[in-house]
Structure formats: C-alpha cells, structure tokens
Amino acid sequence: MPATKTRQALKVWGSWKGELPLQNLYTAGIAGNEFFRVLKERGELLGAFCQQCEYGYVPARSFCERCFADLSGTFKTVSSEGVLLAWTQCHRDRTGKTLKKPVWLGAVRLQGSSSALIHILKVPPQELHAGRFVRAIFKPAAQRVGSILDLSHFE
C-alpha cells in the first residue's frame, strides 16, 4: 500500500486517549510505620538487625529475607553518617524533559547498616567520589510529616 494511502486509513481508524484511573492507599506496614514514626518524631533512621545473617537493614524491616527471622524485636536507630557507594548526576526528569538544574543521587551505606539508602546528594561536584563520608540532613521537626523526604539530603 502506498504511504499516503496508509496515512489516510490510519486517520479513518482513529485512536484516542484513555487511562487506567487508579490511586492507592499505600501502607508503610509494621516495620515501615516504626521507621517513619522515628524519622518524624526524632529525625533519626531506624534499622533492623538479623543476628544469624549478620545483616542490618535500613529502613527497618519486620523480617529477614535471607533466613526468615522475625526482626520486629531488633529495631534500633543507626548513625546518620555513612559512606557514599555510588552517585549519579541526573539531567532529565521521568518524562524525559531536561531538568533546569541537575539532581544528584547517591547510594549511601550508613554506619551499622549492610544495605544502601538511596537519596538526594548535595555534595560539591569536585568532592564526589565513592568512599566519601556523607551525613544525613533532616528537615526541621516542624516540617517533618513522616515521609522519606523528611530526610532532606546527604551532604
């Protein structure tokens, strides 16, 4: 079929915009609720610790995925300082649009944790290197609502 003819046919067939109109009441869960309560009330980060696996989870989890131990009795806060494992400088947003200013993201392993926490990084670009010590900066208590964004960034 010639190209012009195909275009005409497509016009006749038509297409239209639709959507999957859904929202969700997301649940923080048993461990998540504690994590966010401590973050909001105290500006601290809560972890969970499996003795058998010698593994620390931050944010806290209610069970160990490695051995299925119940970790709900092991919650304790960890240091707000840690090591930068990896970083990126992002130039496009999730719809592909160019950001006005780049955003830096880092994977940080806090002292006492085995896992990494991903969050916004505000470190002078010339100082960005894996292994650098970084520190969590929290929003002032009055602005904290129990969200992962109560942790403002790492610097």
Partner: protein, 388 residues
C-alpha cells in the same frame, strides 16, 4: 512418569479489610506459618512459586518481584504465575510441576493479595481488563458481568434468586468456625434477598468482600514427604483449561472450561465417578451462584440441579453427603483473590488430615477437590487431593 507430590504444611493470615501489614509482610506471615507447621526453615526450600492477581491492587507493577522477599525467594528459583482469580489453585499446580518433574524436592507456594488499598475501589482496576474499544466506554465493573452470567444461569434452568441465596447462608455460617474469617455470620435467605441490589439479580450478601490476606503451602516429593511427615496429603490430580476470552462468545449458563479442567484432574487422580469418589469440595464462590455453577461444571451436580442439591442439604458440612466450602469459602472467610484460592487448598489439607477443628467434616474424608476460576472469567483450575 511424574513423581508423586504431597502437601506437607499450610498457613494463612487472617483475611481482613485494610491490613496494617504491607503486602510483603502478609506474604511473610503466611509463608512463615506454613514452614513452622511442618518444622522446616527457609533453607529446606528448593524453589518458590508465587501467585498474585492484578498488579493494580497493590499499586505496584511487577508485584511478583515486589513480593519475592516475603515469599522466601531470596536466592532461589522463583516463579510468579497469574490467571486472575484462578491463580490460587493454579499456583499449587505450578508448584506441583516443579516437584513432580524431579527438578526440586521441596517448593513453597504462596499467594497474596491486598485489595482494600486500591482506590477509589478495586472494581476500578477491573475496568481496564475489558476491551478498550467495545466495552470500557460503557463503564463496566465485574458485577455487571456476573449479573448477566447469573441471570443467564437462572434463565437456562428456571432457577430463582431464592434458590441461590442459600449458598451465602451456608458459607457465612461455616465461616463462623474459621479463625481467619472476615465476613462470617449467621444469616437467612430472607436477609440475603433483602440486602441491597448491586446489579440485579446480584444482592450485596451474594458477593464476597474486598479483602487483604495471604496463604501458603509447602510441597514435597514423595521420598522427602514421607521423611518429613507421617500424614502427607497427596496431590492426586491437577487440571486447568481456558475458554474464549470473549465473554460474549461463551456459554454463560455452563462453564465448559471448568468441566474440561476437572476431567483432566479426575483422569490423573483415577477418579471415575466424582460424585462418589470426591468426599468434600471447595468450589470457587466469589458470588453465591458461582458455587452452584462450578459444582455443575465439576460434574458434582447435574446441569441446572445444584440448587436442588443445596436445598436438600447435600452440601451441608455436618450432615451432607458432599460438604462444599466447609471453610466458609470466599463468601465467609473472604476474598483476597489469589490467597482465597490457596486458602481452599489449605482447607483440603487440614480437612484430610483431620485437623480442621470445629470445621471438621465427619466420616474421615479421604479425597477432596479445590477449584478456582478467573482470568477474564474463562479459566478453570482444579486440584484433587487425597490421603492415599
């Protein structure tokens, strides 16, 4: 020849609306309980099969991956299977294949659903399963389909709403003895018929609730099963079958796909006369009429005669010749989609081991059947289990 496979452990969370746990924590709760029930640890599990229905419910795409930690899949072979509402009985069939093939000796099968968090209503998630050109513009929800199917079933055989309401009464009553039940209650046919009409002829008390919950079973190959327990419950037969996905193009009065699935399972189990050889059944009952519809498809009642069997008490738990939904079913225990189907497998396990407590079917039943249904309302999944 496939290896024999047994269920050796089972567990489930309570079925509730608005669970405080995350989906992962729910999956963990059921999985851990199933492991504990047979004294195994996660190390003893060779592979994991997970079942969960639409991603949209949990507000999470790739839900199988999201739920893998709570399902015990850390560094293990893992499979998520999905045939909508049929998933809960399909998942143990997948687990059976993993073990029957000889590839694995043990398998943890876990199903989870968290529906109540879906806003503004879980029915909204179902709107997107309809054809975007010919059906979605009408704004359908599942109730519309079920209302049409129920009405077709009634018209084909001269069945009344009153004939069907008895399923709600029986199942909600059975569920009073289930510690995990969400909507157990003592009710009457009159009360069911007086409840709100959601889409005629479907009344509110003929519909299972929106639920959150999880269920899990442990499967083992014959040698392993005999070493781990002296009361294995064998998976004797499995079957599944798919009808056309156009609901406009299938027989709404009779679920031929359920019959096809059942015939496969019966053949494998060596069952020639299902009405004599099946001692209890957990047919899928998300709506009251579906239990009857399915019992006919499963060849456990004559076509159009399940309502008569129900009326004369044939399906009663204490005195009936074929107790159906002794657990209380989806109408009584609740309906976290995939978990509800696997709950039926758990029930067979407990019943056939004589561990069902107040729900125990009398007469030492030796063989039972569980069935689920779903996808685009055209899939039948069947498992036959027994102690021999």
């Amino acid at each position: 020849m496939a290896r024999r496979v047994a269920v050796i452990g089972a567990g489930m969370t309570r079925f509730v609306r608005r669970a405080k746990e995350t989906s992962r924590e729910l999956a963990f709760g059921a999985s851990r309980m199933a492991l504990d029930s047979c004294g195994l640890s996660l190390n003893d599990i060779d592979c994991v099969v997970h079942g969960t229905a639409p991603d949209a419910f949990d507000g999470f795409h790739m839900k199988g991956e999201y739920l893998s930690d709570g399902s015990g899949a850390f560094r293990k072979p893992y499979l998520r299977c999905y045939v909508g509402g049929g998933t809960g009985v399909f998942a143990p069939i997948q687990g059976w294949m993993h073990v029957a093939s000889g590839l694995f000796d043990t398998c943890l099968v876990v199903c989870e659903e968290k529906m109540s968090s879906c806003q503004p209503h879980p029915q909204g998630a179902f709107n997107s399963i309809f054809d975007h050109t010919t059906e979605r513009p009408l704004g359908p929800n599942l109730l519309w389909i079920f209302a049409l199917e129920m009405n077709r079933y009634m018209n084909a055989y001269g069945i009344s709403q009153r004939d069907i309401a008895g399923v709600s009464v029986k199942n909600k009553k059975n569920a009073l003895d289930h510690p995990a039940a969400q909507v157990a209650k003592e009710t009457t046919v009159e009360e069911v018929l007086a409840s709100e009409v959601l889409a005629w002829p479907v009344h509110r008390l003929m519909v299972s609730p929106v639920s959150d919950g999880a269920a899990a079973v442990i499967l083992a190959g014959e040698e392993k099963a005999r070493r781990l327990t002296d009361r294995p419950v064998w998976i004797q037969g499995v079957g599944w079958d798919l009808d056309t996905s156009y609901w406009t193009n299938r027989d709404l009065a009779y679920p031929q796909y359920v019959e096809n699935a059942a015939r496969r399972a019966y053949r494998m189990a060596g069952v020639r006369e299902p009405r004599k050889e099946i001692h209890l059944a957990e047919p899928y009952d998300p709506f009251a009429y579906k239990e009857l519809h399915h019992l006919e498809g499963l060849l456990l009642s004559e076509k159009g005669k399940a309502p008569e069997d129900l009326a004369r008490g044939r399906f009663d738990r204490e005195k009936g010749e074929l107790p159906t939904c002794p657990s209380g079913g989806l109408m009584g225990v609740g309906n976290p989609i995939a978990a509800a189907g696997l709950m039926k497998i758990c029930e067979l396990f407990w019943q056939l081991r004589g561990e069902a407590g107040k729900r125990q079917v009398p007469g030492k039943p030796e063989r039972g059947l569980a069935q689920a249904w779903g996808d685009l309302m055209q899939v039948g999944t069947v498992v036959v289990m027994g102690i021999k």
